[in-house]
Symmetry: C2
Subunit: 466 residues, 2 copies
């Protein structure tokens, strides 16, 4: 992963804030990108925030706030007076304003809605109906929209009048008189055609799969953008009315959020992905997101401990048998975790549609068997040829070949079954309408620890006659 | 994760291929998006590929091939005759052609280069100098480029002449007479300004951080696009000459690839991310990518086994001590894995720049201690109040409170140290110029298994006097 190169202006900005030099802060902040501004803000101690925000004023703050983690929004807005907030909210695009209002408490949201003009308030309230993580919750209504009956000349004039209110003109959508989505044109089609050409003649169709319902999951929208290499995805209602657009940069953010969520869930971290950065999250929040799984899984481990306790007499007959117990147990956790990793990732890349469970299970059964066999053979060779040099003391009447065979059989059985189980559990979670990534690496390990104990002791008792 | 809805045309296409009805295949294939075409191709059995490719011909195949996993490219190209390949390569944009030539063997690459026209061959050879995973390797040279000295009218005519050769006109870059990048204009600036306006007057500056060196890592390029919400990122050489652009859809693919790679590495899957889908990857490839870690870690587990064997006499003094051993060991793996998950993810989101290691370690030390304490208290309560009901038999002279204390101390020590270690190892990997995600969940578990054994037996021996 490449290092972020710290731009010098950001450092100068931080120094100006420390020195409480408001005009210097404003001067530097006006020059740099809002993404850098947001980074600088997050790097500051909290007591510097008021100086920073007062210096840059509501116009510059608006763009910057969009880039902040949700958890920092309300505190930042609190530093502005109502008149400043009016300016700030006017600066924001509709989707960003909605995101911001979704990030604050109910009381603040009502207060802020009252600061918007009547038109903005109505629009914002209608957008607030969609959940944050739906296509409707992420869309903007600031986009180029033309009527099919216009000419190129009318279209250019229409767009020019409204150009400050559109986020992108790289794709312009065409609607009929009733607002149904019927096509799209590119700005280049307007720029490169004669002025009397009707829009109807130069528009392209929008395929039924290249649009998304406002109520659909945000991830579905992002995947459509990704699959069809779109810059802009139109969002419609169930009657095909064009409501808004989702842009490529939203899609990138969504994909980033979703893959972070998968990654964290799989690592046994509970709760929604916190938008705050790792270092900005307080220790206690880190603690809270991990404690649940850790305590829950500890109780599952008691089952492993119980099995071990019950078979304690086997181990006490020859200490050498302890040598292989952790390996058999761990090999299950490792191979099961690998299988789960592959399946969860393939699921989030939309590769495993409904009905592929059997094919996956069959593939993993074979993969698991091959892995178990390989591991079994390696460890059998170790037991038969290297272990004797350490003369660890075998149970009475048992030779190294028989011990090697037992270890190999136990490993093969454990790895095969753990791999198989690890590949199936995400399907089980999906069938129960859960995120497959709840089958985390620690969870799978805890489960196959138990089976590993049972398999090892059963095999050793049977094959060695203990 | 939402389900992919299977479009009916794709099914019709598959049926037409099965029926060997070449004209039906062509008719349907001409109507659907190349991404769907590629999906249909991958869903077919290999023996149907020749029929499919012959039916759609080189023009349609060109766009589709771009969407295929690398491993399927060479086989697909093999089905075309040289004359068809000439057409196919002419259809491709320069960056796609380069990607394709990078996906085939050396012998095939030379043969294919010979099929290109002299101009294309020279361009392709110059692009092949950049590694696949660098900004230069991903860029396209088909982009809108204007000279600062042009007027709007000249610019529009210049772009119109060349419009089939540009991938995007949403951002057009401006160069000086020597080809240095000096600004950018949007197509809307051209469309909405009078024809005699000089480009120099309407162009915007391109910040020094909003460009990327051709030799930079592809992930750096994607992160710049993401950070600054760009549609297009200019790629330059060390003298600021504009060489090409990377578009937003490339960035999405790069981010997807990189997060898959992180996820798989962390799950203990070795090797580069295979571009083939899970189900299209043969069982033996799955086996190969997992076997290395599995065998390596099994040998690490022998160390755990050795510790257990050495302390076997402790366990044999009271079987109840076995009850907590798997828990202490597993709690380390779980908490260490959680810490590693958080750190690796924060690193790939570029949150942890150089020099933050100490802050992370301190945060994790506190988090780990809190987690260990919580777990210790839970299990002490269990041991003191619930366990006695099962009268498991304690070592001579030891009461439940003392056992509870030992378990609590061992858990706290194990979870604290495992969390601390889990957070530091990715920094270690990074310092050694490795991908931090090589510190996989299984690797951290194997390491803290050993420390867990040592901690548990030491604590039990000391506090219980065994």
């Amino acid at each position: 992963m490449p290092e972020e190169t710290t731009a010098h202006p950001v450092e100068a900005l931080l120094r100006a804030v420390e020195a409480d030099d408001q005009s210097a802060v404003l001067a530097i902040a006006s020059e740099i990108h809002y993404a850098d501004l947001a980074q600088a803000y997050q790097d500051l101690d909290e007591e510097r925030h008021p100086v920073f925000l007062k210096s840059i004023g509501p116009e510059l703050a608006a763009d910057m706030l969009v880039e902040l983690p949700e958890s920092m929004i309300e505190e930042a807005l609190d530093h502005f007076r109502p008149a400043e907030l009016k300016v700030l909210f006017r600066e924001l695009s509709d989707d960003d304003r909605v995101d911001m209002l979704q990030a604050v408490g109910d009381e603040a949201r009502l207060r802020y809605l009252g600061l918007l003009g009547p038109e903005d308030e109505e629009l914002t309230r209608s957008l607030l109906r969609y959940e944050y993580d739906t296509a409707g919750g992420r869309m903007t209504t600031r986009f180029g929209r033309l009527f099919a009956s216009m000419t190129v000349k009318q279209a250019i004039e229409y767009l020019r009048r409204d150009q400050d209110n559109t986020e992108t003109l790289s794709r312009i959508f065409v609607v009929d008189a009733k607002g149904h989505l019927i096509g799209r044109v590119r700005l280049r089609d307007l720029a490169f055609n004669t002025w009397d050409t009707p829009i109807r003649d130069i528009m392209a169709e929008v395929g039924s799969e290249q649009r998304v319902l406002a109520t659909a999951d945000q991830e579905e929208a992002a995947n459509i953008l990704l699959k069809y290499d779109l810059v802009v995805l139109p969002v419609i209602d169930e009657f095909d009315h064009l409501l808004g657009i989702i842009t490529h940069d939203d899609a990138m953010e969504i994909l980033q959020e979703e893959s972070t969520e998968d990654f964290e869930r799989f690592g046994g971290i509970a709760g929604d992905q916190d938008e705050a950065t790792y270092l900005n999250t307080p220790t206690f929040s880190h603690f809270r997101r991990r404690a649940g799984w850790l305590v829950g899984l500890a109780f599952v481990s008691i089952v492993s401990g119980y099995v071990m306790m019950r078979f304690g007499s086997v181990l006490s007959q020859a200490f050498v048998l302890s040598l292989f117990l952790p390996m058999v147990v761990a090999a299950g956790g490792n191979s099961g975790g690998q299988a789960t990793t592959m399946v969860i990732r393939a699921m989030s890349l939309n590769e495993l549609i409904q009905g592929t469970g059997t094919r996956v299970a069959w593939k993993e059964l074979r993969t698991g068997f091959l892995l178990g066999l390989l591991l079994g053979i390696c460890m059998a060779l170790f037991t038969a040829f290297i272990l004797p040099a350490f003369s660890p003391g075998l149970p009475a009447g048992i030779g190294y070949p028989r011990l090697a065979l037992s270890v190999a059989v136990a490993l093969t059985a454990q790895v095969t079954s753990a791999t198989f189980l690890g590949s199936l559990l995400p399907f089980g979670a999906r069938a129960m309408k859960l995120d497959p990534a709840v089958v985390s690496a620690p969870a799978i390990a805890a489960i196959v620890d138990v089976s590993g104990m049972v398999i090892y002791f059963s095999v050793v008792r049977t094959l060695l006659g203990l």
